[in-house]
């Protein structure tokens, strides 16, 4: 009989054993608690605006028992160097109690640029794992049965196709593929990729392709849309997160419906990638307003009826931008409170930034502390015990309504322009720039105090330790990459590239063709460049690399 752990590297078994569990429903002193609390007598106002946890409009939580029925997933991102380096980091995280594989690719990989590109040499593997080919993904995922272990990928462009290529290449069905990625390309255009790397309409089409394909072929693969985390970090208020995020979601859903995807199926596979910033109460209110806004939009605008489409699941990462370089241990205070806000707001998964986030790629010690922090929240603080613990507070209910009302007003303006146009013409970027400028002015005038930035700046703060790793593997990785390009089967490689180009030119869904191309040893740079050409853009956004073949007209 097949054991459930067959096909899994023994070093990775901790993933299945490290689940965070609710250890206690009594208070620390011993008072028994209920799963949630509510008014003695429900009225119309309560029913329309709040409802109990697990009831429409889900303001108070997606599930009736919340963390009693399912604890949040404790995530910790890893990614540096060559696949072998990141694998080593993942094993350390699992040994410390992490229960998910969460990988961040380096910027070249996530932006569809090969590691041998002449303009980006010094960056390979520095800020994430370099994964330019299916072979590299296979090195990272050796011994990871993707039908049994949930893997989360923090990028949009090629993450699903790379993981799906590994799974298919092993002879397994995409139907069994577990995991998640974040196919939100409009967000990428807005958060610094710009029109140069991802023209809005082109990127959005690729995202809709991925979602349509995954909904039909990999129902266990979760889709993080919108990727509102980066939008907030780039410069948006909590209300702005809801407004811009919903604008992206609504456009995506409309496009999927046109392609014949049912709203109930499409919305059910989606999780909102959110953030928890330093203002505890405002973030709690944001999560509540967001779930209500989502539920009403799906029901009233799209006619969704399935509970799974109406109740929003939220994946949360604490704010990196809020963390301070000076006296970085203070960041543990910030992340603990941000994480508590996320749990009081009812998120389904949580990643806390490491305290050294503003300094460097996380050190192993900092990652260990980030996991311990969540274990303290889970077991000692009682953060998970009762659903929506702040619901009914006059302050929180008022903030929830205000955040929602602000979001409604902003969304209306964006939709009047049209979201693709509002991304392309700089309207949304201007909102973000204005937000950032206001914050900067307030900091300069001491109207907003951040400890260690404009007040209480420590003198003689010791120089922070930087994460360092041996670049030997990166050098070997680059050598392997150039060898693969020499040794691969040129006939099948070229056929796959042509097929990808022609599919894109013909307006078809490019996801299967992308998976097939990666299996034929097409690199991420070649894949993305080919899609760019097919959509009428230059192969290389830097203008430094020629296309590897002459495409059909």
């Amino acid at each position: 009989m097949a054991n459930n752990t067959d096909g899994i590297d023994p070093a990775l078994l901790g993933l299945l054993q490290n689940e965070v569990k609710m250890s206690r429903t009594k208070s620390w002193s011993g008072i028994e608690t209920a799963a949630y609390y509510g008014p003695d007598k429900r009225d119309v106002d309560y029913d329309t605006k709040l409802g109990n946890p697990g009831e429409y409009p889900y303001t108070r939580g997606a599930y009736p028992e919340m963390y009693r029925s399912r604890m949040w997933t404790l995530r910790n991102i890893v990614g540096y160097g060559a696949p072998e380096d990141t694998r080593e980091g993942l094993l350390k995280t699992i040994a410390a109690g992490g229960n998910g594989i969460n990988v961040v690719g380096d910027p070249p990989t996530t932006q569809g640029i090969d590691p041998d590109h002449p303009a980006i040499g010094p960056e390979v593997g520095l800020e994430g794992c370099s994964l330019p080919t299916m072979r590299d993904m296979e090195r990272l995922l050796a011994g990871v049965d993707l039908a049994k272990i949930d893997t989360a990928w923090h990028w949009s462009t090629t993450a699903y196709a790379l993981v799906a290529a590994v799974h298919s290449h092993r002879g397994q069905s995409l139907n069994t593929l577990q995991g998640s990625n974040m196919p939100d390309m409009l967000q990428e255009t807005l958060s610094g990729w710009g029109q140069k790397v991802v023209p809005a309409a082109f990127g959005h089409r690729n995202a809709v392709d991925q979602i349509e394909f995954c909904t039909a072929n990999s129902p266990k693969w979760a889709l993080g849309i919108p990727q509102a985390y980066d939008l907030r970090e780039r410069g948006l208020s909590p209300a702005g997160e809801i407004a811009v995020g919903m604008a992206i979601v609504i456009k995506t859903m409309e496009d999927l419906v046109v392609r014949g995807v049912s709203i109930d199926r499409a919305a059910a596979g989606i999780a909102w990638v959110s953030i928890s910033d330093v203002d505890f109460f405002e973030e709690v209110a944001k999560f509540r307003a967001l779930r209500r806004f989502w539920a009403r939009t799906m029901k009233e605008r799209f006619g969704a009826t399935d509970t799974r489409a109406l109740r929003l699941r939220i994946a949360c990462h604490t704010s990196g931008r809020s963390l301070v370089y000076k006296q970085p241990l203070n960041n543990l205070t910030r992340t603990a409170i941000q994480s508590l806000a996320a749990l009081c707001g009812g998120v389904q998964s949580l990643e806390a930034c490491t305290y050294d986030e503003p300094v460097c790629v996380p050190t192993h010690e900092a990652r260990d502390l980030a996991i311990r922090q969540q274990q303290i929240l889970a077991n000692e603080i009682g953060a998970a015990r009762v659903a929506d613990p702040l619901g009914g507070s006059w302050y929180i209910e008022s903030l929830t309504d205000t955040v929602e009302a602000e979001a409604v007003a902003m969304l209306e303006k964006i939709e009047k322009i049209g979201v693709i146009e509002a991304v392309t013409n700089g309207y949304i970027e201007q909102i973000m720039d204005d937000y950032n400028l206001t914050v900067q002015r307030e900091l300069d005038l001491n109207e907003r105090i951040v400890v260690g930035v404009n007040q209480f700046v420590p003198e003689n703060d010791p120089v922070p330790t930087r994460f360092r790793f041996d670049p030997t593997n990166t050098r070997i990785h680059l050598q392997r990459f150039s060898e693969l390009k020499q040794q691969r089967d040129r006939t099948s490689w070229e056929a796959a590239l042509r097929h990808l180009h022609d599919t894109a030119r013909g307006g078809g869904n490019c996801t299967q063709a992308s998976i097939d191309a990666l299996i034929a040893d097409v690199t991420v740079g070649e894949l993305w460049g080919t899609l760019r050409v097919a959509n009428g853009y230059a192969y290389d956004p830097y203008g430094a690399v020629e296309a590897p073949i002459r495409y059909n007209a």
């Binding site: 910027p107 960056e123 520095l126 610094g192 990729w193 301070v324 370089y325 700046v457 430094a544």
Partner: protein
């Protein structure tokens, strides 16, 4: 005469929030900003310094690759005859790298916690006030 300040980022670094804010703050202070944005190559950036006749250049980095990028950039500036244009850098610059950066001739290093008025001052004086 108005100071012409060229601002931009190199490589794949997308953390442009700081430099975009700086661009606006400098403009408000009466400085002429030529904003090149993200995703520039070293060669493209040096070309822009020449074409735009910049008085001062500002590069921002969140990526740990900055030391190598700055080395390449300074070399390319010198090779193209614009090595005397002052260069300031900002972003996640680690104190351990201040000395090697100064040795490369970088006089304006604006790491975490830098104040906007200090940067405005530095740009107004075309890199003079901190030297």
């Amino acid at each position: 005469m108005t100071v012409r300040c060229l601002l931009g980022m190199l490589g794949t670094d997308v953390h442009s929030k700081g430099i975009r804010t700086l661009a606006q703050v400098l403009r408000d202070a009466g400085i002429e900003v030529i904003y090149l944005g993200e995703h520039n190559s070293v060669a493209g950036m040096v070309r822009a310094v020449i074409d735009e006749d910049a008085d001062i250049i500002g590069l921002s980095f969140s990526s740990a690759a900055y030391l190598e990028y700055i080395r390449q950039f300074v070399t390319a500036m010198r090779e193209n005859g614009v090595g005397s244009v002052p260069l300031m850098i900002g972003g996640l610059i680690h104190p351990d790298d201040h000395l090697p950066l100064q040795e490369m001739g970088i006089s304006g290093i604006f790491g975490p916690g830098s104040r906007m008025d200090a940067i405005i001052d530095f740009v107004r004086n075309k890199g003079g006030s901190l030297q």
